[in-house]
Symmetry: C3
Subunit: 141 residues, 3 copies
Amino acid sequence: MEYREVNPTREYLARLETGNDWRSEIEALAREEDVEAGWFNAMGAVQEAEIWFYDQNEQTYRSVTFDEPLEVAACVGNVAKLDDDIFAHTHAVLSRRDGETLAGHLDSATVFAGEVHLRAFDETLERTPHERTGLDLWLNE
Amino acid sequence: MEYREVNPTREYLARLETGNDWRSEIEALAREEDVEAGWFNAMGAVQEAEIWFYDQNEQTYRSVTFDEPLEVAACVGNVAKLDDDIFAHTHAVLSRRDGETLAGHLDSATVFAGEVHLRAFDETLERTPHERTGLDLWLNE
Amino acid sequence: MEYREVNPTREYLARLETGNDWRSEIEALAREEDVEAGWFNAMGAVQEAEIWFYDQNEQTYRSVTFDEPLEVAACVGNVAKLDDDIFAHTHAVLSRRDGETLAGHLDSATVFAGEVHLRAFDETLERTPHERTGLDLWLNE
């Protein structure tokens, strides 16, 4: 395990805009406030969503699209630098009207309503290629 | 996107009382400590639960009741003012004994055991009607 | 409800090591940094997982093993003392490649990749037997 003590700086509450992209909204907040390392929690609902599943053997992402209204029952993620840009690594748990649940890595989703808490750290957190998994990970020096 | 930098004041750990209502317990904590804006995370188990799904077209909530013991695998929510009272907007991911998962907006649930972390902010966070979604949302001025 | 205001001390970001046990990694971080009370959020993926469901009537845990790669869509937990050792009470929401979701109390899981945010409190948080549920709970004096 690699870990680092981090120093919190600022924190934010955000309401995501109906019709915009869920992950892009969080990245826009991070860019506007110069957050290069942060942790977030969110909840709400989306109009449709594209979830990715990482194939651990093939080391590639596979996409599944759910073209239907879904609640965002839980959303956990973090902000770091990737290829000189800001990337919000976003996982989400979504649900249908009967409570049936879908979850995974959230690539994109159209916001119906979204409530976010973002906590920023005064650190550099940078994703670089991690050989064993094929993923871009931080604290990977 | 609308957002606001918030100033944390106090934070709390709570153990919810067996037999009481999950959401009411969180609201009672907020009222007792004068928390009018906060973010929480929780986990535990419930004896039964009523989950709501928001119909985005009809703009009404539909209810589903699960009358069975369930784990609370994840619970994310926030505290704000709504109609001059405290409202804990609560989403939850619940699971059955075989791991099958149910999720959504948690209206009510009978606590079996509950562990909560609440972070309070020195802000006014007030829910008002949001025309486009029909929901009561904060940062909606 | 029992609750306590808590004082945050330090916080950490951790990258869990591929091949190691998910929960043991979090407990190792807590031990190394003398964290006896904390709250964490995590996300990532595992190679397999053992989930427990607590039978509220029989007051015993039942185990289900999923021997397959799974995303960790959300993970919520807390650190406390139990029997003079550190215990990370860990709940998780896992998902399959089609988005199908499994969730519950995470006993063990082999890390594929894991990202954790741990917030430490300057408190004593100790689990003791709670008669009504048969669980070991904190703030149970």
